[in-house]
Symmetry: C2
DNA sequence: CTGGATCCCGTAGGATACTG
DNA sequence: CAGTATCCTACGGGATCCAG
């Protein structure tokens, strides 16, 4: 469950400095796209190959998987390993930093599971009032 | 009319997956846009009026502030209150659920502050290797 | 198997002007 | 002050074909 943490720890990241506001933007630039968090989540249990990822992430196109993997590799979130065997294949794995990102997004995931039904209700009610 | 969220239907295209994988997408539909998390963060200390928000969030246009506020209001993240005084004004405030969202995103914020320099370094090194 | 190259489209989102 | 209404452009992202 998500605690209503009003303690000093949560306050650290939420000081209303203009700098921090920029940080919010930057983090969304990294993981705010359509597929990055899904890839990170899918890799949480260990390395996977390109086709395994493609099969695991339903609906992703080859192009977007490639693009997303390149971006995450560039940001140091995951590592790419080419195996020179026949047939050649490539595996992707979270870096230590990538693992910390996965942990940092876990609360948001829990929040979504806990509150999405409530949000659906809020939307329905809002739309009804406006209908 | 501008449809920020396509509603619950958008998730149906990705069924045949464990449910929580879909949740990841839905939560990004809510807060994954350019301004939502910034608005939530800005409202963390209490209600603000439209112009105060506009001034606090650097770079946001009137249109996007309106659109973002409407979406968050619809999702039950914040509440909108019209004050019938002269001159009339409107204030926005996080709902209790909005406050839990703010708390759930706090770890991600802290992560970004801690790791963004490292990411910049990783990018620079990656670009150098590819240069 | 892994991915690069191209084409194409929908939509997020910025600029601007107008209203109660 | 707090929006609404248009217009317009950039970019995310899907489909498809090609290559190592």
């Amino acid at each position: 469950m998500i605690a209503k943490n009003s303690g000093p720890e949560s306050a650290q990241a939420q000081d209303a400095q203009p700098q921090d506001a920029c940080r919010t933007r930057e983090v969304l630039d990294i993981v705010g796209d359509k597929w990055s968090l899904l890839v990170v989540r899918t890799l949480k249990d260990g390395p996977l190959r390109f086709t395994q990822l493609k099969r695991s992430i339903d609906g992703i196109s080859q192009r977007m998987l490639t693009v997303t993997l390149r971006g995450l590799e560039r940001d140091g979130i995951l590592s790419r390993t080419v195996h020179n065997v026949m047939p050649p294949h490539v595996s992707y794995e979270l870096t230590p930093m990538g693992a910390t990102l996965r942990d940092a997004t876990a609360p948001l995931l829990e929040w979504s599971i806990a509150h999405l039904p409530h949000i659906d209700a809020a939307r329905a009610e809002y739309d009804t009032r406006r209908a």
